[in-house]
C-alpha cells in the first residue's frame, strides 16, 4: 500500500494524498483528463522572428471535421498572443500557413479577444471581442476604442501560402498611441486532401 501510494504521488505530485487526488480529479473536466493522460497537448506558442511581439501555434483539432460545399474538411486551431504597445497602427505577423494546394482559407469560428488593463473610468480590466470597437488603453491612460482590428490571412505573395497578420489602428489624436494584448483563437477548415504546415518565421 505504501509503495502504491508513493507511486501515485510520484506520478501526480500536485496532490497531497491519493484520496484528495480522486476528489480533485472527479471535479475536473474531460479535456483536463485527456491532457493528464497525454491524449491532447497544450499548444506551445512560438515567437515570430520577424515580429517578436507575436507568438502563435497552429495544430489540427483531433477527431473534428466539417463539410463545406460538400467537401470534407479537417479543422485547424490557430492560437496566439500579440502584445500591442506604443503605436497608433499595428501590423503584426503571426505565421505562414502553407497548403499543398491553393484553396480559400475558411475561418469557421473566432474566439479571439482583446485585453486592456487598468481602465481609469470603468475600473479594472476589460476583455472585448476582436474587432472594431474593441477597448484598449491609450497613451494618456484612458479607455479608447479601436477603429479597426482584424485577422488578415494574406496569400498575395504566393497563392498557396497564407501569411497571417493581425491589423489594428485607432485615430486618437496627434501622437496618441494605444496598448492592449490580443489573444488569437480561431478554427480554420481546410479540405482533408490538403496538407498543412505552419511556420512562425
Amino acid at each position: 500500500m505504501y509503495i502504491y501510494k508513493n507511486l501515485i504521488m510520484a506520478t501526480y505530485p500536485e496532490f497531497k494524498s491519493p484520496l484528495t487526488q480522486v476528489w480533485q480529479y472527479l471535479g475536473r473536466n474531460l479535456p483536463y483528463f485527456k491532457k493528464v493522460l497525454g491524449l491532447i497537448d497544450a499548444p506551445t506558442f512560438v515567437e515570430s522572428t520577424s515580429n517578436p511581439t507575436s507568438q502563435s501555434s497552429c495544430n489540427q483539432v483531433n477527431n473534428t471535421t466539417c463539410t463545406i460545399d460538400g467537401e470534407l474538411c479537417n479543422v485547424y486551431r490557430l492560437q496566439g498572443q500579440v502584445d500591442l504597445s506604443g503605436s497608433d497602427a499595428y501590423v503584426n505577423f503571426l505565421g505562414a500557413l502553407t497548403l499543398s494546394q491553393a484553396t480559400t482559407l475558411r475561418i469557421i469560428s473566432n474566439s479571439s479577444n482583446v485585453l486592456a488593463f487598468n481602465l481609469p473610468t470603468l475600473g479594472g480590466d476589460s476583455a472585448t471581442a476582436l474587432g472594431s470597437g474593441a477597448i484598449v488603453v491609450d497613451s494618456a491612460g484612458n479607455e479608447a476604442f479601436v477603429d479597426l482590428m482584424l485577422l488578415n490571412p494574406d496569400n498575395s505573395l504566393v497563392i498557396n501560402e497564407y501569411d497571417i497578420y493581425l491589423l489594428a489602428s485607432a485615430t486618437l489624436g496627434l501622437g496618441v498611441t494605444f496598448d492592449c494584448t490580443v489573444n488569437i483563437d480561431v478554427n480554420i477548415a481546410i479540405p482533408k486532401s490538403i496538407t498543412v504546415t505552419y511556420d512562425t518565421l
Binding site: 497602427a89 505577423f93 498575395s156
Partner: protein, 124 residues
C-alpha cells in the same frame, strides 16, 4: 482573321493563378518554318491570365512561343514556353514555378508587406 485565345498561368502544384494579382508582361511570337519569328502579342499582366485576339495561324507557322516576364518582386519565375501549332488550344496553360525563398528572404518579404500594410492603415 483573328482568333481569341486565353492564356492562364498555373503554379507547380497545378493551382490556377487566373485571378491572382501578378505584375509583368506576356509576349507571344509566331515562329515560321523558315526560322523567322513575328511578335503578335505584347500585353501587360496584372493577374495570372489574359484574353488576347491573335492572328489566325497561317500554314507557314510551325510553333507558337509564349514569353512571360514577371516583375522581380513577384514570387513566381518568368516562363518561356514553345508549343507546336498542333498542340495549341483555345485556353493555353503556361506553367510558372514559385521562387524558392530562404527563410531569411521570406522574412524580408514579410517585413516589406508589414510596411505596405501599415502605410495603407495610416491612409484610412
Amino acid at each position: 482573321m483573328a482568333e481569341t485565345r486565353k492564356i492562364i498561368l498555373n503554379d507547380d502544384y497545378g493551382n490556377s493563378l487566373e485571378n491572382f494579382a501578378l505584375e509583368g508582361k506576356c509576349e507571344c511570337f509566331y515562329e515560321k518554318t523558315d526560322g523567322s519569328s513575328e511578335k503578335v502579342l505584347d500585353q501587360a499582366l496584372t493577374k495570372g491570365s489574359i484574353t488576347a485576339e491573335l492572328p489566325a495561324i497561317a500554314s507557314d507557322i510551325s510553333n507558337v512561343r509564349y514569353k512571360i516576364d514577371l516583375e522581380p518582386a513577384v514570387a513566381y519565375k518568368s516562363a518561356d514556353v514553345t508549343y507546336s501549332k498542333d498542340q495549341l488550344r483555345p485556353v493555353e496553360i503556361i506553367p510558372v514555378s514559385a521562387k524558392k525563398y530562404t527563410k531569411k528572404e521570406k522574412i524580408e518579404m514579410i517585413k516589406k508587406q508589414i510596411t505596405n500594410k501599415l502605410a495603407s492603415l495610416r491612409k484610412k
